[in-house]
């Protein structure tokens, strides 16, 4: 234990994290290491790796886990389904409180990666505003240098406020580090004198889906031209990558909305208690080869309607529980995003306790004051369909489908906080 915590604390400081942040990361490491050693992989080795993400430090715990102990990987493992019981404290939950993000992923060969991240502190956008952009003549789309990145981010912040804009846009230095680390890319439109007329930021949201912010246009008189140029340049950069689709949740000018398809909307609750609706726009980058997807009968009509609306070619196959033997404990991967008060759950392993496990997670996340709870189901994995009815019974509703967002399409359920 001392080796693990000292290693993480030292690495975190060396990677530029402040003293307090390094300590919090070290504390989270202590909790996780202790929990894994006593509950998940007793007597087995745990590989710990510290990664310098430039704008954050990431600690990865990799280990093998036997089927018997897998249930302990649920972040809500020790939470009871009974609301009257006190929730016992446990390692993963405590750890999740001191860091910014926690994620559990299944890897090859029965290996599991549990990752935690702590962000660096950055100064926010300078209070002295930049003078308005005066753009003349022909524009070109180019990849900005560090200074160009900071000017772009600063100008985005000088525009109208947007509650949907991610907080990292408030920190130009952070975005510069994100670009340097390869966590995102930016394309800006500049004139011959180098004046920035607009920009677009994009990053991989999942292995195959790219999230696009913008295009942000700083020269309203030429909005259509600039937005189109930036979106075209953005797509050109990702057209021959692993990306199969792009989503846009914020900052899209009206002039390019016709280039996207509306997937649907999710309702979010902010830290201030105010709620807002976020529309998800999507664009497929490839031909749709057609797919087989699985559903519980309860959602067949919904899926048929959505696939018809989106012109997606899908063969929808019903999945029925016919009494086959199941593992005892199911596992959900949890992505906790403290910033934004959001948790995204994805089923990793099927089990006979799906209903109880969903209830445990919902109770745990509500107790953690997580406002926005989502379940991502992969419609290409047959047993995910057995969660559909369970989720609906637990006040979750199917909100939208991201084509090719997973192995096949991803169906996002949103937990309805207005439940009785």
């Amino acid at each position: 234990m001392p080796v693990a915590t000292h290693c993480v604390e030292t690495a975190a400081k060396a990677f530029g994290l402040g003293r307090d942040e390094s300590l919090k990361l070290s504390l989270a490491t202590e909790e996780i290491f202790s929990y894994l050693s006593s509950n998940v992989c007793r007597g087995e080795s745990v590989d710990i790796r510290c990664v310098n993400g430039l704008s954050y430090v990431r600690v990865e715990f990799r280990f093998s886990v036997s089927a018997l102990d897998m249930g302990a990987l649920n972040i809500a493992a020790s939470v009871t389904c009974d609301n009257d019981d006190d929730m016992p404290e446990m390692g993963l939950a405590i750890a999740s409180r001191t860091i910014d993000r926690l994620n559990i992923m299944a890897e090859r060969q029965n290996r599991v990666c549990l990752a935690i991240e702590k962000d660096k502190d950055y100064p926010s956008v300078p209070e002295t505003p930049l003078p308005p952009a005066v753009v003349k003549g022909l524009l070109t789309a180019e990849t900005p240098d560090t200074e160009g990145v900071k000017i772009y981010v600063t100008r985005v912040n000088q525009g109208p406020p947007d509650p949907l804009r991610p907080p990292f846009f408030q920190y130009p230095g952070k975005v510069a580090d994100m670009v340097a680390a390869g966590d995102c890319q930016i394309v800006t439109a500049v004139d011959a004198r180098g004046e920035c007329a607009g920009g677009v930021l994009f990053r991989f949201r999942t292995a195959r889906i790219v999230e696009v912010f913008g295009p942000h246009v700083f020269c309203p008189a030429r909005e259509g031209e600039i937005a189109d140029m930036l979106l075209t340049a953005c797509i050109a950069r990702i057209a021959r990558t692993k990306a199969i689709g792009i989503v846009n949740l914020t900052g899209m000018p009206l002039s390019v909305r016709g280039q996207y398809e509306l997937l649907g909307s999710l309702k979010y609750s902010g830290d201030d208690g105010k709620s807002f609706v976020r529309s998800w726009y999507y664009r497929l980058l490839h031909e749709d080869p057609g797919y087989l997807v699985f559903t519980d009968a309860i959602l067949k009509e919904y899926l048929e309607g959505e696939f018809k609306r989106l012109f997606l070619a899908r063969e929808i196959r019903d999945v029925h529980d016919q009494g086959e033997i199941k593992e005892v404990a199911s596992i959900f991967s949890t992505e906790m995003l403290r910033e934004g008060s959001t948790a995204v759950l994805s089923p990793l392993w099927p089990g006979a306790d799906l209903d109880d496990n969903v209830k445990r997670h919902l109770r745990f996340l509500k107790d953690e004051a997580i406002n926005n709870i989502f379940f991502n189901l992969d419609l290409g994995i047959y047993w995910h369909a057995s969660l559909m009815r369970v989720l609906i019974d637990n006040n979750c509703r199917p909100a939208l489908i991201i084509p090719f967002g997973a192995q096949a399409d991803m169906l996002i359920f949103q937990y309805d906080r207005t439940e009785p």
């Binding site: 090859r108 060969q109 979106l231 075209t232 797509i235 050109a236 057209a239 021959r240 990558t241 692993k242 199969i244 016709g258 280039q259 996207y260 398809e261 664009r283 497929l284 980058l285 490839h286 031909e287 749709d288 080869p289 057609g290 989106l310 012109f311 997606l312 070619a313 899908r314 063969e315």
Partner: protein
Amino acid sequence: MTEPNLDLLVPAYVREFEPYIPSKPDPELQRLYGCDRLYRLNNNENPLGPPPGAQEVIRGFHPPRGAVYPSGDSYYLRREIAVRHGIDPDQIVVGNGANEVIAFVIKAFCGPGDNIITADKTFAVYEWVAVFSGIEARVVPLKEERFDDREMLQRIDNATKVIFLCNPNNPTGTYWSRDTLKAVLDEVGGRQIVVVDEAYFEYVEADDYPDGISLIKDYPNLVVFRTFSKMYGIAGLRIGYLAGDIKVVDMIRRTCVVYSVNGLAQEAALACLRDETGHIRRTRELVREGKAFLCAEMSAMGLPVIVGEGNYLIVKLKGSDTLAYRKLMHEGIMIRPMTGFRYPNHIRVTLAKMDAMEAFVAALKKILA
């Protein structure tokens, strides 16, 4: 059973490469999209099929010959091609489609740290093969829809081994004239291999369009690709070839796996070359008619087109090309969305028979209404 550790076994440039997903077979697509017929306007196939002589070869293939290995180096076909171009048969390598000869060239000339140069909006396979072979692909933006000769020359450095030119370019139909090509070859001066992919050679009627093979004697660093998949209509048999200087081809041949070209394809290709029924003329007439019709219809619909040589043209839409693909598929029309060619909001349409052209226009009007 222990699974292999693919993270350790597979090079990162292979792991990170996203494999191309080919279309499903037509019956599967028709079932999924709910259409009872499908016009294939996505792959620039020749709707007339192969010339009559090649059709006869295919019909007459004697089944027991399926047990016999083909000529491992396409012996008779290389001799026929050589005679027609006045070159030595050993200046030719035949491959399982032109795609295979692209891989031959990159394997022969490129090693770790090397790079190739091509355009950003062109046939993707040059770039793909380089990337999944661990070779840097430098893609130069087209200039006014054509390969930018000056910029491509600028991007050459000591690690540049091959320059790929698609002439005429798929998908824009633009081409380098004989003078432009020779000027570039003069400037390169033998320091790099220059590949000219002439997959659509037989479609070009412009006077200043160069016959790359005729330039090989003056430029031994020039390698020319041709295919039987487009004009000659035997895409399903997979056969194409490259031609180059005898010493250059001798190096390329070292990277080939012999016997990759089946015997039926070799015989059908021979028959294609010997066609005297006017197959090329008929196909060109069909393309001219389709091109004029589509240009007029697209103009009437207010949709800009990019059109040049070849049996295809590009239409610029106001919205997403991939959405248009899905909508058109539901109408029984398969086109090529151009996002993968870095042309978002554009579709490429194969010029085909008039019933297909009319069906495409009707479907496009319907989905844009």
